[in-house]
């Protein structure tokens, strides 16, 4: 079975009497080591899809197998544990704790994993050096540039050796130079470590980094590059 196996997933939000079908019967599988870019206009359901893949949310109907385990019925505690062990998030807003240093931010997932202080600091330092911030460990987020903050966030996503990196518009708040630097990091991680990476973006040049492109519209997948290619070939 694929690393990510989504079967007939539907997500419905209810606002009183109104129902909003955000995801409409989606099925997709993503193999280990893939680099997927998800595109689509706002409201197309790509963020909801990411939330479900990232175990922040559960589908209303359908099944989601992560690493062969059906997580669509998991409770809050089990989902938290999966997020901690298997998933690394990178957000558009960076989402760093402003009162904590770069090192402390990177340590955060390890605290909840129950890793002891000494090992935690060591691992966090190593990952920060990997993303090129070995000399900035004791800086606070506001002392860092946008690109550097996003690199801290990537280090935080990587520190607990996740199976998947999920990045929701990671370059949305960055200038083009920083954007390219960040995308280079994702590319290297994918090429060298085979880290499964899923990135949401609406910039075509960012999407071009992906080896597979998926396009969302109105809660459905309207184009999957593998399939698109097949269609073109046929």
């Amino acid at each position: 079975m694929a690393l990510i196996q989504v079967e007939n997933v539907t997500k419905i939000y209810r606002f009183g009497e109104h129902e909003l079908k955000v995801l409409d019967n989606i099925s997709i599988s993503i193999e280990k080591g893939e680099f997927v870019c998800i595109m689509g206009p706002s409201g197309s359901g790509k963020s909801t899809f990411m939330n479900i893949i990232g175990c922040l949310d559960t589908p209303t109907y359908g099944k989601y197998f992560l690493d062969g385990v059906d997580v669509s019925t998991f409770g809050a505690d089990e989902l938290a544990e999966i997020r901690n062990k298997k998933i690394g998030f990178v957000f558009q807003q960076f989402n760093l704790l402003s009162r904590a240093t770069a090192l402390e931010n990177v340590e955060l997932p390890l605290i909840y994993a129950g890793v002891e202080t000494k090992e935690r600091k060591e691992r966090a330092k190593n990952v920060l050096s990997k993303v090129g911030l070995g000399d900035r460990v004791n800086h606070y987020p506001k002392q860092l540039s946008g690109g550097q903050q996003q690199r801290v966030a990537i280090a935080r996503a990587l520190v607990n050796n996740p199976s998947i990196i999920l990045a929701d518009e990671p370059t949305g708040n960055l200038d083009s130079k920083s954007s390219m630097e960040i995308m280079e990091i994702f590319k290297i991680l994918n090429d060298e470590q085979g880290l499964t990476t899923i990135i949401v973006t609406h910039e075509p040049d960012i999407a071009a980094f992906g080896k597979r492109q998926i396009r969302f519209l109105d809660g459905r997948i309207v184009c999957d590059s593998n399939i698109c290619t097949q269609e073109r070939e046929s």
Partner: protein, 409 residues
Amino acid sequence: MISVSSVINIALRSLIVNKMRTFLAILGIIIGVGAVVTMVAIGTGASSKISQQIASIGSNLILILPGATTQGGIRMGHGTLQTLTMSDAEAIAKECPAVVSVAPVISGTAQVVFGNQNWSTAVMGTTPDMVIVREWEIISGRFITEQDVRSGTKVAVIGQTVAEKLFGDLDPMGKLIRIKKIPFEVIGVLDKKGQTFTGQDQDDIIYVPISTSQRTLFGQVLPGRVRLIYAKAATLESISQATEQIKTLLRQRHRIGPNQEDDFTVMDLTQMLKAAEESTKTMSILLGAIASVSLLVGGIGIMNIMLVSVTERTREIGIRMAVGAKPKDIRMQFLIESLFLTTIGGVVGLLLGIISSLMVSSIMQWPISISVFSALIAFGFSAFVGVFFGFYPAYKASTLNPIEALRYE
């Protein structure tokens, strides 16, 4: 599983960041705990002072005073008629089963001289049972004996104040003092009792044999009459019984008809003090209750601050949840924060309470009575307030939806 030290570390850091807010939240608890500790200390101090006085006047003490008489329609005060006699005292001792000891007194104020020192003090002629009735401790020598009373010897047992005023550092034993210019040998020194609740110095006293007092110091117009009689009931419960027995006996002995007023008064000092003790206890409970309200208000303050803190840190909570914090981790973090607030408040409030109790006790001359128990109660209660008022905000934080929390601006 997240380690305890990490949770504490996280909680402490967020408290340090918001110093002013943390201080204000703690202030409510400080005032609350401080007020509880002070009020309870004042209350128990007051009642322990009264208990001390009960012990110092002698337990189960009954005072029999000569009655007020009416002369030509004018009612006079206690003791205007000398209606009590030595034989009344003896009869009470013999015929009232609820009374264990009796000591009649013939007393007056006299100038006492030793060497070049002189002092005006109360001189009481009494019987050996006075030691039992008033529960005096003799620190050196002996008290008056039956032999002294029978032969009317000129011996004196002196209180601490008299010893100090006349003898200073000298040993008074065996020395001759002059009471109304008549020489008396000091045969005993009494232990210190301190002041009565009316502020009278109980150690400013000299006891002499009642016979000597009658004959040579305060000769009565009518022989055999006494100023007052002390009696001691067997137990606290038998005081009222003893009082009744004394009344009945004396009415009978004084031939008082059914419609006539007593020509004596029986005062139950212990009962009076017990009542006072009860009312101080009630007062201290009341004071404590009022102070607890301020602790409660402090707790509500903590809850308010914690709710604000949870709302303000919604995004932080979202981030923590995204990287793997379980609801219970979040709950623990906020619970420990509020627990820290209140226990720090509890410790500081306790110190403040101790300081203010010491101040009150030094200003009002009350004995200090900060019990470990009341300190523990105040401390425990503040911790309880932390958990109780911290729980709702912590619960609220733990049930946040991570997606919404991450989007929170």
